[in-house]
Each structure stands twice: as C-alpha cells, then as structure tokens.
C-alpha cells in the first residue's frame, strides 16, 4: 500500500516533457524508471505510457550492455549507492 500511495497520481512524465528520443548515455535521466536495485520499474508504479515504457526499456538495456548501468546490485552495493560513483 505504501508503494501504491507513493505512485498514486499516474500520468506519463515523458509524455508531459514531450520526450521523443532517449539517449542511453544520459544515465541521470534513466534513474526515474529504475528501482534502487536497478530493476526496470513497472508501468503500474511509474505511470509511464506504453510507448515511453518500451523506449525506456530498450534504452536501459543498451546502457546495461555499455556498463553505464549495472544489471544487478547486491545488498552491500545498495547501501553505497553506486550511481554517485558512476558520475
């Protein structure tokens, strides 16, 4: 429930910003659709529309292949927030 309330207001933020293309090298922009364990957040929680969810998922997978974003994060690494080190 707590999670649900956090994302209650559901609208696509990418539609609002009129995003047409996402760059996989812009790691900071991907953060919104990633959980703290770097899983891709589901649409029901972020409120992304289908089109933008498809875009973000391909972009995140590209970034993972390029070692810009981790595939998985273990419990130890979650505490140290690897994202800050990447920048």
């Amino acid at each position: 429930m707590a999670e649900r309330r956090k994302y209650k207001k559901r609208y696509c933020k990418y539609c609002e910003a009129k995003v047409d293309f996402m760059d996989y090298k812009d790691v900071g922009a991907l953060r919104f659709s990633l959980s703290e364990r770097y899983k891709i957040m589901p649409r029901r929680l972020t409120g992304n529309c289908k089109r933008h969810q498809d875009m973000i998922s391909t972009v995140i997978k590209r970034a993972r292949a390029a070692a810009l974003v981790p595939y998985t994060v273990t419990r130890k690494q979650v505490v140290t927030a690897p994202f800050e080190n990447l920048k």
Binding site: D20, K25, A65, A66, A67, Y71, N85
Partner: protein, 147 residues
C-alpha cells in the same frame, strides 16, 4: 548510407598514448570500410557499472558516423578481434525521429569538443583531489594550491 553510433570501451591498463593509438586504430577501421565519421566524443576514464574481465574502470569513446549497412558486420568482426576493447555497443539511427536525435547528439558532441581543455582537466583531476573540488568552484586553479 545509414547513421550509426559506436560506444567503445578501451582497456584501462594501457598508457594514455596507447589508448589514443587504439582509438585511432578503431576510427581507421570505420573509415577504411567506407564510413564517414561525423564526430567523436570522449567520455574519458570512467568507473564501470560492473567489472568486465576484472577491470573496474574503462576509457569510454563514442564515434558517430555514416556507413553502408552491409559494412557493419565487418566492423563488428574487427572489434571482436581487437584485444584492447572491453566492450562495444553499436546503435542504429534509422527512423526520422532517430535521425533528428542523432543530429542533436552530434551537435552537443561538437560543442563539447569545441571546449575540450576545461573538461579534460576536470576529469583528470577529479579522482586525485575530490574534496577540494567540491569546496571550490574552480578546481583546476585551486587543486594544486590545496595540496
């Protein structure tokens, strides 16, 4: 002819000159196969999100170019043979929307290349003196004095 982008991660164990040489060799692979390099963008030495071949860091280099689609196979084959590379990612820019985005990316890369001196100094000095860099707005000038 189609627009492509290649991200290349060069081994961090090489010296700075060797890295430059291997980057040049990579660009030559593209040009020798009939490609035309629009711009390049060096992201510099970065920490990898996960270790590749026991390397924690890597030298990131992005190349934007146009080439006939049939040549991509050969380029990727050559990249796979190259032992200096940890990883490469090839992105195709095909649809109209993607081509527009490609042009934008090229423009930002060119702007970045126009003012390279500042950025290069920052990336090199950031890991050496991290605390003074956050305290002072101009790390290039202040960092040596602080040490």
């Amino acid at each position: 002819m189609r627009k492509y982008e290649n991200l290349v991660i060069v081994k961090p164990t090489l010296t700075a000159e060797e890295i430059q040489a291997s980057v040049k060799a990579i660009e030559e692979v593209i040009t020798s196969n009939g490609g035309e390099i629009t711009t390049t963008d060096t992201m510099g030495m970065r920490k990898l999100a996960y270790p590749i071949d026991k390397n924690e860091r890597g030298y990131f280099h992005v190349i934007y170019y146009t080439i006939a689609p049939s040549a991509i196979n050969e380029i990727e084959r050559r990249f796979r043979i190259n032992e200096d590379l940890l990883r490469f990612v090839t992105i195709k820019y095909d649809t109209n929307r993607e081509v527009i985005a490609f042009d934008k990316l090229v423009q930002t890369a060119q702007k970045k290349a126009a003012a390279p001196a500042k950025e290069e100094v920052k990336t090199e000095e950031a890991p050496v003196a991290e605390t003074p860099a956050t305290e002072t707005p101009a790390p290039e000038a202040e960092a040596p004095a602080a040490e």
